[in-house]
């Protein structure tokens, strides 16, 4: 676009002055429209990102001035047992949630896409839970999965399965949280459903003429066509799992029985640190123990990992952005 403008300038020299003035105005307008965003980005992302890295080399408790201690915070991570637990728990969620969320949302969307009647109702029912506040959603499952009295316990009882203690059992607390996360995965389901409905009908018809049944049509036509959206689901789920905080805190403190907002610290990670995720430990270190330097070091580590995960998505988006700009409009 800028190239075309310049060419025009060369041809018509007379109004060149006016053009450069209008160009300056154009630039000022862009700047004016973006001014709040630039300021906001600098204040709330640019500065704190750099400052986080800076704080990570210090010992800082918010009261006394930060004291430079070099790489000590990073070195401490290797001897901090709970850091290792937190990394393990978060990795558990990254692996389990990513697979479970994408497979589950894809499965639900595939079924809903094939419904002939009641699509709207089922779609609404699947999507609504994802709007619930995470605190509420976790408490809902806390009720449903409560040992001995809860409906899930009774349901499993019909099949002769003895229900675990869920949020009170170190082995089952994480799967319990994963169940909450699946219940609220309706947004991903809607995205995948839209992609499935966008698959050109002719492709199905062609496959049907070749004698492909519904399952083979799904495998050979639907899946390959919507794979970019599934990729989005994977990256989105990884990011979601890496920052899992609220559900873990609420499940842990509610299960420990003495959940109050300020006292929750004592019970973070309950039971037996099985719900102590990376962000929970970061929060505890920084804002309960006021070891801001160590929290900043953990934040830096989280940022580096996220950066790698995000790069994946951005790469994909860049590709599709280029395709978009191929059109005459851009």
């Amino acid at each position: 676009m800028t190239a075309t403008l310049e060419r025009v300038d060369v041809v018509r020299t007379a109004p060149a002055k006016g053009r450069s003035r209008s160009r300056a105005r154009h630039r000022l307008t862009v700047l004016a429209f973006l001014a709040p965003a630039i300021l906001g980005f600098t204040l709330f992302f640019g500065y704190p990102l750099i400052a986080t890295i800076g704080f990570s080399f210090t010992k800082y408790d918010l009261i006394n001035p930060p004291e430079w201690i070099g790489l000590e915070n990073y070195a401490y991570m290797f001897s901090d047992k709970l850091f290792r637990t937190a990394v393990y728990n978060t990795l558990w969620f990254v692996v389990v949630l990513t697979v479970a969320r994408v497979v589950f949302a894809l499965g639900v969307a595939s079924v809903v896409a094939r419904l002939k009647s009641g699509v709207g109702l089922v779609r609404t029912l699947c999507y609504l839970p994802s709007l619930a506040p995470p605190v509420a959603a976790t408490l809902v499952f806390f009720l449903v999965m409560r040992p001995n009295e809860g409906p899930l316990d009774a349901f499993l009882g019909w099949f002769g399965i003895e229900s675990p203690l869920w949020f009170a059992d170190p082995a089952w607390a994480k799967p319990g949280i994963a169940a909450v996360m699946l219940w609220v995965s309706g947004d991903l389901m809607i995205i995948i459903l839209a992609a499935i409905l966008d698959v050109p009908q002719e492709q199905y018809e062609a496959a049907e003429l070749d004698g492909a049944g519904p399952v083979r049509r799904w495998w050979h036509v639907t899946l390959p066509t919507i794979s970019p959206v599934l990729m989005f689901g994977v990256v989105n789920s990884i990011i979601l799992a890496l920052q899992l905080f609220t559900q873990a805190v609420v499940a842990g403190s509610a299960a420990s029985g003495s959940a109050d907002v300020t006292g929750a610290t004592k019970n973070l990670g309950f039971p037996e640190n099985s719900t102590l995720t990376f962000p929970v430990w970061l929060y505890t270190q920084g804002f309960r123990y006021f070891d801001m330097g160590y929290a900043a070091a953990m934040a830096t580590v989280l940022f580096v990992i996220l950066f790698a995960a995000t790069a994946l998505l951005v790469q994909r988006m860049r590709k599709s952005a280029h395709q978009e700009e191929g059109g005459p409009g851009a």
Binding site: T29, V30, F33, P36, A37, L39, L43, F44, F45, P48, L49, A51, T52, V112, V122, L125, Y127, L128, P133, P134, V135, A136, L139, V140, L143, E149, P151, W183, D187, I190, I191, A194, A195, D198, F232, I239, Q243, T246, S253, G257, S258, A259, D260, V261, T262, P279, Y283, G286, F287, M292, A296, A299, L302, L306, L313, V314, M317, S320, G329, A330
Partner: protein, 297 residues
């Protein structure tokens, strides 16, 4: 429904092609399988809320038991929770946070999204990538320096550290609005420019009215995100109970009244009301908005 639609189609096709019969049976089976799965899925998503509702209207003692169905319907529980905790205070705080943040977001994000979608300038793609990057960043990563800054300004213990940023920059909203504005044909903007509209006029007179569904969806998401936010209020207001939002208060409610399942669940339902109401009135905006975050992203 099952029997109404299918027999109509099968006799129509069967007389001409007799050998197709087994195929029809497979179709019926397929139809039944898909729809039973659909019903099962609907139940799976809906039942937890049904249980919560049934528990919320039980008596104190019955809420403790295995019973699924309330013996007496204690509708008063929904009022009683207002005596147990200053819910109106929390509601006020939540509304303050969500409404101000949404207003601030609209003021700051619409012009930025327009500049990213419909104006040509060098570095636009790089800026867009920064927006996407900011969108992916979990709040925990930047929490330490921000808390440090807000506390030196004496504003920790209030909701202002959470509200203020929306008046300048909200990455997700800018991203979503840009995606919506991109779908408005460039010719409308060009025509406005030819007619002598300034960029600001083109934005206010052409883009804003045309992007109204997108703006509504973005506002809805912003409102719900802040309404549901837990980490932010926990970080800044956990020591100041008179500043708590509903989300934060709910996390403590079960602890403070942990014998009373019915009341805890009544509050849980009340906090979900805005989401459900907004969804009922703006279902299309929601669905459109959510698809835009994925497909067009």
């Amino acid at each position: 429904m099952t029997t109404a639609t299918l027999p109509v189609t099968s006799p129509a096709s069967s007389p001409s092609r007799e050998p197709r019969r087994p195929r029809d049976w497979r179709r019926v089976l397929d139809w039944v399988a898909v729809h039973s799965l659909g019903i099962a899925l609907g139940l799976m998503f809906a039942l937890p809320i049904v249980f919560v509702f049934l528990t919320a209207v039980m008596s104190d003692s019955q809420a403790f038991t295995k019973d699924l169905w309330p013996r007496e319907w204690h509708w008063g529980n929904f009022l009683e929770v207002f005596d147990k905790a200053p819910l109106l205070k929390y509601l006020g705080n939540s509304l303050l946070y969500s409404l101000l943040a949404t207003i601030g977001m609209l003021l700051s994000s619409i012009p930025a999204a327009y500049a990213l979608a419909k104006m040509k300038w060098r570095g636009r793609n790089a800026v867009f990538l920064l927006v996407v990057g900011a969108m992916m960043l979990p709040p925990q990563v930047v929490a330490v320096p921000l808390y440090d800054t807000w506390s030196s300004l004496g504003l920790t213990g209030t909701l202002w550290p959470l509200i203020a940023p929306y008046f300048l920059f909200d990455a997700f909203s800018i991203f979503l609005l840009r995606q919506f504005i991109l779908t408005i044909p460039q010719s409308y903007v060009d025509a406005a420019r030819v007619d002598g509209c300034s960029e600001f006029q083109a934005l206010v007179r052409i883009i804003v009215p045309m992007a109204r569904p997108g703006i509504a969806a973005t506002a809805l998401f912003c409102f719900l995100y802040t309404w549901n936010d837990y980490f932010g209020p926990l970080l800044y207001t956990s020591e100041k109970p008179d500043q708590w939002t509903l989300s934060l208060a709910l996390s403590s409610f079960k602890g403070m009244h942990h014998v009373q399942w019915n009341l805890a669940m009544a509050v849980t339902l009340l906090i979900m009301v805005p989401a459900v109401v907004l969804f009922v009135f703006a279902q299309r905006s929601f669905v459109k908005g959510i698809t835009f975050t994925g497909v067009k992203g």
